[in-house]
Amino acid sequence: MNRVLPSALLISFITVFITACSPAASPSTGMGQLLNGNAQGYTPVTPNVSLQFPADHMAHNDFRQEWWYLTANLETESKEQVGLQWTQFRIALSPPSAQQTDRQLLANSAIDSSPWQTEQLYMSHTAITSQTQHQAEEKWSRGHQSIAGTQAEPLTIRQDDWQWRSQSKQLFPATLNVASSDFSYQLQLDTTAPFQLQGDNGYSVKNAAGSVASYYYSQPFITVTGSLVRDGKREKVSGHAWLDREWSSQFLSKTQQGWDWFAIRLDSTSTLMLFQLRDDTGEQSHFYSGRRMYQDGRGHNISNQQITMTATAWQQTPSGRYPVQWHIQIPSENIDITTTPLNNDSSMPLSIPYWEGPINISGTHNGMGYMELTGY
C-alpha cells in the first residue's frame, strides 16, 4: 500500500496545483495564452528562408510551437459521412538559449544528463465526427525519444501509440494509427501532389503589420483508405485528407484572441485555405488570409481585402458558443459559398477548448472541408 502512495500523492498534488492556478483557463484566453506568449529566446520566424524537405517535416525544437495537423473527410462503406482529425502539437517549455545555460549548470552540479530530460511538451488531439456524434480525445506527454517526438527514418511523428509512420524519409506514403478510449482508426495516406507553401514561400504572415508570422506548408490532396472502429464495430473508410504543417515562436499578436480557419475542397482539383485572425480589442481590424491551391502544384495567395466572411448561425456547446455557419465571398476567385457543419456540436472540450469539424459547402462551389474555430 505504501508503495503506491507517492503516485497518488503526486497526482493529487499536481491536480490541486493546476486547478488552483488556472483561473485563466477560460476558452478565450486558452489559445491566446498558448500562442501569443513571450517569444524571447526562441528562433524568430523570418522571411526569405526556404523550407527544406524532408528535414522540415521533423520537429523544430528551437521554435516555441509547432503542429502536424491532419483533417479528413471520409465516407464509410454504407456511405456515411465521417470527419477525422489528428493533431500533434509540440510546445517548448524554455527557449534554446536557456536550455544551453541549463546544461552548463548541470555540468557544474555533477548531475549527468538523462534521456528523460526534456524541454519539449507534446499534446495530441484526435476527434471523429459524424452527423450524430462527435468524440474527441487528448493526450499529453513529455518529449522523449521513444515516447513523443519525431524520428527521421522512417519518418515518424509519434506520441505514445498515436503514430504517423512513413515508409521512408518522406511524409508519404504513410500510415496513421490512433486509438482512443472510445474509437480507433488506421489510415493509409498517399499523394502525388506537390506540397503547397503558404504565404510567401512558406512564410505566412498573421497580422497586418507583418510582425507575427509562421512557417506554414500544406498538402491538401491526400487520398485516404483505411478502417475505423467505433462502438467496437470496424468499418472501412475512404476519402480525402489535408495536412497542415506549421511552426513558429509567436502565432498571434498580443491583441489577437483566436481564429476561424477553413480547409475547403472546392472541387476535385482545387482547394481553398482561408483564415481570419480576430482582433477582439477593436484596436486593429481582423486579419484575413487565403490561398487557392491546385492539384498540379499551382497556387496563388488571396489578399486581405478580397475576403469577406460573415457568420450566419451560432451554436451553443458545452464549451462555448461558436459561429458554425458562414457566408464566404471572394469575388476575385468567383467564390460565393455557404459552409454548413456536418455536426453543429463539434466542440473539442479539451485542455484548450475549441470547435473543429467537417463542413459541407454550397453556392458557387459544392464540396466538403474542415473548419476550426478558436478563442470563443
Binding site: M1, I14, C21, L106, L121
Partner: protein, 840 residues
C-alpha cells in the same frame, strides 16, 4: 396595525434587553449552551472534513487509487524504465512511473525522495477528473500553472516541497542532497505534499544514481482489462520483467475510515445535543423569571403576537451570537484536535493531513440547525406562555402538577423508544442500521431520568430520618423539575463515556490476548524469494533456535473480493488461532484435508457458518471439490478475509512450495539472532520483525485511533458538567428566598450548606446509578452489534469499574463545584436581600 405591532415588538425587545442587563447570568447561560453546542459541532466537523479531504487528495485510498501495480520481480528491487516506455508505446498511457529512494544530506541525515514522470501524473489526473464529470470541459491547462515545468522536466536541480516542510528543512530554499545543491520550489501545503520530497524522474534517476530504473509503475483504469492488455504487450518476453499486483486493500480501509468518521460525527452530535440541553435550560429559566413581567406587559396592552415575535427574535439573536462565538471556538478546537487525527491517519492509513480549512457555509448551517433545534425545544414553553391567563393563577402547585405529568410523558416515550429498539435490533444486520437504533436508545435513556429520579427520591424520603434531613430529601424532589434537563445532559454524557470506555477497554484486552496467541514465535522474517532456503537452513543450524515455523500465502478471490489463502506448519496451525466456533474433532479432519478454516470477518461478511462448503478458484483449477468449514477463527485488523487450509490441501492445490514468511523461536537474545541473519544471509533489518516490536506497534496504532474518540468523550462530559454548573447556579439563585426563610427559622448556615449539598449529592448519585446500566447497555450494543457488524470482530466485553468510578467522581466534582460556589456566595448575602427575592 403593522406599525403598531412593530412598535410593541420593539418595546418588548427593549424591556427584555433591560431584563438581561439586570440578570446577565440568564443570558450568559443561554449563550453558553449555544456556544458549547456549536463549538463541538464545528470542531469535529472541521476535523472530519479535513481528514476526509486529506484522504481523497493525498492518498490512493479513495478515488485516485491505482488499480494495478507493476512491481519488480521477486528478489529484485527495480523495474527497467523500458517497461514503462513499452507500455506507453502500446497505448497504456494511464500509467505512472515512480522511482522512490533514500538520499543523504551533507550532515548524513537520510531523506526519502520520490521521482516520477510529472506530465504523466498530470494527464492521468485530467483523464480521471474528465471521466468523473463528463459534462464539463476539463478546465485544466498544463501551461497555465505557475509551476516551473521547464526547470523540472529538463532535469535541473529543482525539487518540490510543501511550504511548511520547506520552511522547516530548507529555510533558505536550498537543500543539499548527495552533494547536489537543490533549489526548493515550495508549494502551498494545500497541495498535499506533506513531508514528501518530489521531483521529476529526469532528476530523480540521476540523484539516486539509478539511470534506467523504476521502483514500480502504477496503472489506472479497469484492473482486468489492464491485466489482459499488459500480458498481451509482454507476451513475447522471455524474461519476466515485473510482477503484476492488483491493488486490493482499499475497500477494507475505506470502510474502516468511514466508520471512524461516523464515530466522530456521532460524538459531535451528542455533544451538540448536550449543549442544546444547556441552552434550553437557560431559556426556560429566563422565561420562568420573566413570567410576571410578560403578564404585566400583556396587561399593559402589548398583544400576544408581538410578545411571541419578540421572544422569537430574542432567541434568534442569542442563537446568532452563540453560533458565531461557537464557530470561532470550534475552529480553534479543531486546530487542537487535528494533530491527534493526523498521527492516526499517517500511521494507519498512510494519509497526510492537509492544513486546516473552513467554510462560511458551516456557520450558516450551524446557525440554522441551532435555531431550528432551539425553536423546537422552546415552542412548548412559548406556547404555554401564550396560553397563560392574564389574571396570573399559575400557582406553585399548578407548576408541580404539570411537571409530574411531563415526567410521566417522557418516561412513557422512553419506554416506547426502548421497546422499538429492542424489537428491531434482532433484525438489524447492517452496522449503519444498528447505529440508528443505537441513537434511538441513546435518546431514550435520558428521558427515563426525571421519573426515575422522582421514584428513587420517594424511596429515599421514606427511609430517611425525621426532621430537617427528611425535609431536605423531600425538597430534592421539588428540585428535579428545574434540574432535570441538566441532569439529562449529564446522564447522556456519562452513559456515552461509560460505553465508549467499555468498548475501547474491551477491545484493547481482546487485541492483546489475540496478539499474544497469534505471535507465538520470537522473530518473524520475510526474506526475498531467493534467500528463503538459505534462511531456513541457517535457522535450522542455530543451536538456540528451538523451532522454525513457516507461513505460505496466496492471493485469491472469494465472490469477487480479494482474500488470502494460506497455510502454516502444523505447530502454528494448532496453536496460533483462537477459535470462535469449530466442529468436534477438528484437527484430524483438517489435517487430512477434508476441512478448512476461515476468519471471523469473512464468516460474518458472507454469513458463513461451520459446516458450510467453500470453494475458491484455485480449487477448481486443481479439481478439488469444495471443502466444509471446520472452524472460524478470530482475526482483528486484517482487511482481507482469510482461508486457511492444511499443508496437505496446499500441496494438492499445487501452490507455491516456498514459504512467504518464516518465524522462529529463540532461546537467546533476539538481537543476537538478528545480527547473525543480517551478517550471514544477508537480510536487512526491515525484513525482520521481532515479536515485541510488532505487539508494541499494533497497540500503539490502536491507542492512537481511539485517542480522539476519548478526547471528544471527555469534552462532552465537560460540556455536561458546565451545563450542570449553570443549572445549579440558576437554581440556587432561584432558591435564595426559601433558603433565607429556613435561615430565618433558625437553620444554621452550616446546616443549610449541608442540606443543599446533600440534595445535589442525592440527585447526582442517582443519576450515576442510572448511568451504570445505561452505559453497560450502550457498550454492549456497540461491541456486539455495531463493531461486530462493521468490522466482523467479536470482542469480549470487559466491564471496567475503575473507569466507571472515575467518571462518577468527575460528575460529583463538577456538581460539587456547581453547588458550593453559588451557595457560598448566597449564604454570605444579607438575609433581607435574599428574602426580598421572592417579592421581586
Amino acid at each position: 396595525m403593522s406599525s403598531q405591532l412593530g412598535l410593541t415588538v420593539r418595546l418588548s425587545l427593549a424591556v427584555f434587553a433591560r431584563h438581561y442587563l439586570k440578570a446577565p447570568l440568564q443570558a450568559g447561560a443561554i449563550l453558553l449552551g449555544f456556544i458549547l453546542a456549536v463549538m463541538l459541532l464545528i470542531g469535529v466537523r472541521a476535523t472530519n472534513e479535513n481528514a476526509v479531504r486529506s484522504y481523497s487528495q493525498a492518498t490512493e485510498l479513495l478515488s485516485q487509487r491505482a488499480q494495478l501495480i507493476l512491481a519488480p520481480v521477486a528478489g529484485k528491487k527495480v523495474i527497467a524504465d523500458s517497461v514503462y516506455i513499452r507500455l506507453r508505446q502500446a497505448g497504456v498511457t494511464q500509467s505512472l512511473a515512480v522511482l522512490a529512494g533514500t538520499v543523504t544530506d551533507s550532515k548524513g541525515q537520510r531523506w526519502d525522495i520520490q521521482a516520477s514522470d510529472l506530465i504523466a501524473a498530470l494527464s492521468i489526473q485530467q483523464y480521471q477528473s474528465k471521466s468523473n464529470d463528463t459534462a464539463k470541459p476539463a478546465k485544466v491547462s498544463m501551461l497555465s500553472s505557475g509551476i516551473p515545468l521547464a526547470k523540472l522536466l529538463s532535469g535541473k536541480p529543482y525539487i518540490l516541497m510543501s511550504e511548511s516542510h520547506a520552511e522547516q528543512v530548507a529555510p533558505k530554499g536550498i537543500l543539499e542532497l548527495e552533494g547536489v545543491m537543490l533549489s526548493v520550489i515550495s508549494v502551498s501545503d494545500e497541495f498535499g505534499l506533506g513531508n514528501a520530497i518530489l521531483m521529476d524522474i529526469s532528476l530523480g534517476q540521476q540523484l539516486l544514481d539509478r539511470p534506467g530504473e523504476l521502483s514500480y509503475i502504477a496503472l489506472f483504469g479497469n484492473a482486468s482489462q489492464l491485466t489482459a492488455k499488459v500480458s498481451q504487450i509482454f507476451s513475447q518476453q522471455s524474461i519476466k520483467q515485473f510482477e503484476l499486483a492488483e491493488q486490493d486493500e482499499g475497500e477494507g480501509l475505506t470502510s474502516l475510515t468511514r466508520s471512524f468518521h461516523l464515530n466522530l460525527t456521532a460524538m459531535s452530535l451528542l455533544a451538540f445535543v448536550v449543549g442544546l440541553f444547556i441552552a434550553y435550560n437557560g431559556v426556560r429559566y429566563s422565561l420562568l423569571k420573566r413570567q410576571k413581567l410578560l403578564v404585566q406587559l400583556q396587561q399593559q396592552g402589548v398583544p400576544q403576537r408581538a410578545l411571541l415575535i419578540a421572544l422569537f427574535l430574542e432567541l434568534f439573536g442569542l442563537v446568532i451570537i452563540g453560533s458565531v462565538l461557537g464557530f470561532i471556538l470550534g475552529l480553534q478546537l479543531s486546530h487542537w484536535l487535528q494533530p491527534m487525527i493526523a498521527l492516526t491517519l499517517e500511521q494507519l492509513y498512510g494519509a497526510r493531513l492537509l492544513p486546516g480549512l473552513w467554510q462560511w457555509s458551516w456557520l450558516y448551517q450551524a446557525i440554522g440547525l441551532t435555531f431550528v433545534a432551539a425553536i423546537c425545544a422552546c415552542l412548548p414553553l412559548f406556547n404555554a406562555l401564550a396560553k397563560q391567563p392574564l389574571a396570573r393563577s399559575s400557582s406553585r402547585f399548578e407548576q408541580q402538577r404539570h411537571a409530574g405529568k411531563y415526567q410521566r410523558i417522557l418516561f412513557v416515550t422512553a419506554i416506547g423508544l426502548l421497546t422499538l429498539a429492542a424489537t428491531l435490533f434482532p433484525f438489524s444486520r447492517d452496522y449503519q442500521h444498528s447505529l440508528i437504533l443505537l441513537g434511538v436508545v441513546t435518546v431514550a435513556i435520558p428521558l427515563l431520568l426525571p421519573l426515575s429520579l422522582q421514584l428513587c427520591l420517594s424511596v429515599a424520603t421514606r427511609v430517611s430520618r425525621n426532621g430537617l434531613w427528611q425535609y431536605a430529601v423531600a425538597e430534592s424532589k421539588e428540585l428535579i423539575a428545574p434540574l432535570s434537563l441538566a441532569m439529562m445532559a449529564m446522564l447522556l454524557a456519562l452513559t456515552a463515556n461509560i460505553s465508549m470506555n467499555t468498548l475501547v477497554g474491551s477491545f484493547e484486552i481482546t487485541l492483546k490476548n489475540w496478539l499474544d496467541a497469534r505471535l507465538y514465535a520470537d522473530i518473524y522474517i520475510r526474506p526475498p524469494n531467493d534467500k528463503i532456503e538459505a534462511t531456513q537452513t541457517l535457522l535450522a543450524k542455530q543451536a538456540k533456535v528451538s523451532a522454525v515455523y513457516g507461513q505460505w500465502v496466496h492471493k485469491s478471490h472469494y465472490q469477487n473480493a480479494p482474500i488470502s489463502l494460506m497455510t502454516r506448519d502444523v505447530h502454528s496451525l494448532r496453536n496460533s488461532n483462537q477459535m470462535k466456533a469449530q466442529v468436534d474433532n477438528l484437527w484430524p479432519q483438517f489435517f487430512e484435508g477434508s476441512a478448512l478454516m476461515i476468519s471471523e470477518p469473512m464468516a460474518i461478511k458472507y454469513r458463513l457458518e461451520v459446516g458450510d462448503l467453500v470453494s475458491l478458484p484455485e480449487f477448481k483449477n486443481a479439481s478439488q471439490p469444495p471443502l466444509p468449514i471446520g472452524a472460524i477463527f478470530y482475526d482483528y485488523g486484517n482487511p482481507l478475509g482469510q482461508v486457511i487450509v492444511s499443508q496437505h490441501t496446499w500441496q494438492r492445490l499445487a501452490l507455491s512450495s516456498s514459504p512467504t514468511s518464516i518465524a522462529a523461536s529463540y532461546t537467546g537474545e533476539i538481537a543476537e539472532l538478528e545480527h547473525i541473519l543480517q551478517q550471514q544471509i544477508p537480510l536487512s533489518a526491515a525484513q525482520m520483525y521481532n515479536q515485541a516490536k510488532i505487539k508494541q506497534r499494533a497497540l500503539e496504532i490502536f491507542k492512537r485511533t481511539f485517542s480522539i474518540t476519548l478526547v471528544l468523550n471527555s469534552l462532552t462530559l465537560m460540556v455536561a458538567a458546565i451545563g450542570l454548573f449553570s443549572a445549579c447556579l440558576m437554581l440556587t439563585q432561584a432558591r435564595q428566598a426559601p433558603l433565607a426563610r429556613l435561615y430565618a427559622l433558625g437553620v444554621s448556615r452550616n446546616q443549610l450548606r449541608g442540606i443543599v449539598s446533600l440534595q445535589m449529592l442525592l440527585i447526582v448519585l442517582f443519576t450515576c446509578l442510572l448511568a451504570l446500566p445505561a452505559g453497560a447497555l450502550l457498550g454492549y450494543l456497540l461491541i456486539n452489534k455495531v463493531t461486530l457488524q462493521a468490522f466482523g470482530w467479536s470482542i469480549a466485553m470487559v466491564w471496567d469499574w475503575h473507569a466507571y468510578f472515575q467518571v462518577v467522581l468527575i460528575a460529583l466534582g463538577a456538581s460539587a463545584l456547581a453547588v458550593l460556589l453559588p451557595l457560598y456566595w448566597q449564604t454570605r448575602k444579607p438575609l433581607i436581600t435574599s428574602l426580598q427575592q421572592e417579592a421581586l
